[in-house]
Every structure is written in structure tokens, then in C-alpha cells.
């Protein structure tokens, strides 16, 4: 049972161990990179997502413990309290009757406005919360803009 070199050269080849090994290495490297990314995302999630923010009430209750550490705080921008400054904007944030005065350094996002819920990131400095980032929380309710819709208790549209 012998074959010539010419005959074996005509044989169809199936994937050999060398090619298979290179494919294995490539797949394992890809899996390793994905696992590392997964580890990073899970770490960031564990350190940020589980307690994404404190409400104004919770932050005020824990003020002594918080000291000047940076954290996120949620509340609604009190109408009439927004005061643009050269550095950014000052406003008051409220949650369930608890309030804090906020000094924002930097530009607020496009949707920032009175009565909108926001999550601010920063720290307490005396009686003021110094924020470096405002994140606007929008609701899940989508209604068409209507120019003549009454927007305040006085019955006016602006």
C-alpha cells in the first residue's frame, strides 16, 4: 500500500493541526480580552451602579459621614432658584421637602431647566454642594410639544 508524491499532492486537504492551533490561539486571545473587559465593567458596576446616587434627604442625613467626599445626589431643580454665574450656574435642589443649594462649575446640559430632576456629582463645602457634573433625568412620558399648553398655576404658557 504505497502512494506516489504526485498522487498525494492531488488529495483534498482538510484543516491540519497547525492551522487549527493558530485558530485556537486567536480564539483564546479574543476570549481573554473579552473576559478582561467583562471584569472591568463588572468592577465599575459594583463600585458605581449599586448606589448610583443619594437623594437630597439621604445626603443631608449622612452629611457628617460624607464629609468632603465626592458622590452623586438626586433631586428636582427648584423653580426660581436658577442663577447663571460666570463659572456655571447656581440653583437649589429639592427632594421630599429637603433642599440644598448647589454651585455648578461648568456648563449644564441642554435639557437643564427648572422643575427637572437631576443627578449632580460633587461634594459638600460648608452649606453648599459644589458640583462638577449635572446629569439630567428625563421621564418615560413623551408628549408632543404644544405652544399653547398651560405651563404654570397662573394659567400662562411661558
Amino acid at each position: 500500500m504505497t502512494t506516489t508524491g504526485e498522487e498525494s499532492a492531488q488529495w483534498k486537504t482538510v484543516e491540519g493541526p497547525g492551522r487549527s492551533r493558530a485558530k485556537l490561539i486567536r480564539a483564546l486571545v479574543a476570549l481573554g480580552v473579552i473576559l478582561a473587559a467583562l471584569g472591568f465593567v463588572l468592577f465599575k458596576g459594583a463600585t458605581n451602579s449599586l448606589e448610583y446616587f443619594l437623594t437630597v434627604q439621604q445626603a443631608n442625613a449622612a452629611r457628617a459621614k460624607l464629609g468632603d467626599t465626592s458622590f452623586r445626589m438626586e433631586g428636582v431643580v427648584v423653580p426660581g432658584s436658577v442663577d447663571p454665574t460666570p463659572a456655571g450656574v447656581d440653583f437649589t435642589i429639592r427632594y421630599n421637602h429637603a433642599e440644598d443649594r448647589v454651585t455648578e462649575i461648568g456648563n449644564p446640559p441642554e435639557l437643564f431647566q427648572p422643575s427637572i430632576p437631576v443627578v449632580i456629582q460633587g461634594h459638600f463645602q460648608g452649606n453648599v454642594f459644589v458640583s462638577s457634573l449635572i446629569e439630567v433625568k428625563h421621564s418615560s412620558n413623551y408628549v408632543a410639544e404644544h405652544p399653547s399648553r398651560i405651563k404654570n398655576a397662573g394659567g400662562t404658557t411661558s
Binding site: 498525494s8 483534498k12 482538510v14 480564539a27 463588572l42 427637572i116 446629569e135 408628549v143 408632543a144 404644544h146
Partner: protein
């Protein structure tokens, strides 16, 4: 052209037309929203893409279960699972991308580590891992079983993503459509355009999975034929030599 190919082409063209219609309605016909203004136009593509990701992973899980159960084990289930996972990863990527584009002007940030965004990133990586696992050289059955188990494990994250806005404090809003009371919180023509977006992207998903499944099936059949031909040729050469 076979009836099957004609039907698939019909699905593809319908999906394209419906997506174009969604874009036209979303960009030119529907009104700006209160508070959100023109940023609302992302609504017509972002939630449908997230829905397709859920649907795709659901199909991958169902097909994987059918493959794992020995009485229903067929190559086709494994190929459907893989094709659907590929579409799922594609749409999860698009969900993250469109969410980021929407988030920058609406929230003020491209990305934040809140529970919904983080669990979505985890979902993306888990199914990317599933696809990478499928590239590891091994026998077809072993690959099918291992990747089916991986698909079942990865699916655990789907309900976590959906419920994260209720389980944890998040920056992301609660669902406007797929909420516990199924109360659609989108009004008027905006709701109809969103519905069209859901149907359009579902059609696109069906076309993608169908096409990918057929390609994979042909590839697998071709590989079988190649091996059979190689064995036949070798045997015939050996017979002549004897």
C-alpha cells in the same frame, strides 16, 4: 429563484421600506416633545434596537435549549442560535451607540456607570464571548453543547438589564412601552412611529438571521462534502495502489 429566496427577499425589502418610513416619520412628520424637544427623535430607533437585542437573545436561548435536549438535537438549532446571537450583538452595539448619542445632549454625558448601562455592557460582552467561544476549534457537537450552555448562562443578564431600572437607582428612565403595566407612555403620532420602528427592526432582524442561518448551513454542508470527497479520493487512490 426559489419560493424561499423570494420570500426572504420580500422580507428584506419590506424591512428596508419600513425602516426608511420610520426615519421619514421620525425626522419630518412627528412633532418635537415637551422638555425633550427634537431630541425625542432618537426614541424611534433606540428602544426598537434594544427590543431586537432581547428578542435575538431569547431566540438564541430557545434554539440552544432545543439543541441541548438530545431528542431535538439538530445542527439547525445550533446554527439558528449562533445567527440570532450575531444579530443580538449587532443590535446591542447599536443600542449602546444610539443611547450614547442620545445621552450626551439629554443627560449631559456620553456614558455613565448606572445599573442599566452597566448591565447592557455586560450583556454585550457576554454574547461577544459566546461568539468567540464558537471560534474555538472543536468537534461540531462539542461546540454546539458548550456554546448552548454559554448562551443559557448569558441569558440570565437579559431580565437583569430590563429590571435594573426598578431594582436600582438609575439615570436611565423606566421603559415607556415594555413596563409592568404595559401602559404606553408615548402619545399620538409619536406612538405610531415608535410602533412602526419596532415592526421595521423586527423584520430586519428576521431577514438578518434567515440570511446568516442559510449561509452557515451551506458552509457546514460544504465542509461535510469536502471531508467526504477527501476520504473518497484517498480511498480510491489506495484501492488503485493495492
Amino acid at each position: 429563484m426559489s419560493r424561499n429566496a423570494k420570500l426572504k427577499r420580500g422580507v428584506g425589502i419590506t424591512a428596508l421600506v419600513m425602516i426608511a418610513l420610520t426615519f421619514w416619520l421620525g425626522l419630518y412628520v412627528t412633532p418635537p416633545a415637551e422638555v425633550m424637544g427634537n431630541l425625542v427623535r432618537m426614541l424611534y430607533i433606540h428602544p426598537p434596537m434594544a427590543w431586537i437585542a432581547y428578542l435575538a437573545y431569547g431566540i438564541t436561548t430557545a434554539a440552544s435549549l432545543l439543541y441541548l435536549w438530545k431528542r431535538t438535537r439538530r445542527r439547525e438549532w445550533d446554527l439558528i442560535a449562533a445567527a440570532s446571537a450575531e444579530a443580538g450583538v449587532f443590535f446591542t452595539g447599536l443600542t449602546i451607540l444610539t443611547g450614547s448619542i442620545w445621552g450626551r445632549p439629554a443627560w449631559g454625558v456620553w456614558w455613565t456607570w448606572d445599573a442599566l448601562l452597566t448591565s447592557t455592557a455586560v450583556l454585550f460582552l457576554l454574547y461577544l464571548g459566546y461568539l468567540a467561544l464558537r471560534q474555538v476549534p472543536m468537534s461540531e457537537t462539542k461546540r454546539g453543547v458548550r456554546s448552548a450552555i454559554a448562551a443559557l448562562v448569558a441569558f440570565i443578564d437579559v431580565p437583569i438589564v430590563h429590571e435594573s431600572v426598578y431594582w436600582w437607582k438609575t439615570l436611565h428612565q423606566t421603559p415607556s412601552v415594555l413596563n409592568p403595566s404595559l401602559n404606553v407612555e408615548v402619545h399620538g403620532s409619536m406612538a405610531w412611529t415608535l410602533l412602526l420602528g419596532f415592526v421595521a427592526f423586527t423584520m430586519a432582524y428576521v431577514w438578518m438571521v434567515w440570511t446568516r442561518y442559510e449561509t452557515s448551513k451551506r458552509q457546514a454542508e460544504l465542509a461535510d462534502l469536502e471531508v467526504e470527497r477527501a476520504i473518497r479520493e484517498r480511498l480510491s487512490v489506495e484501492e488503485v495502489s493495492l
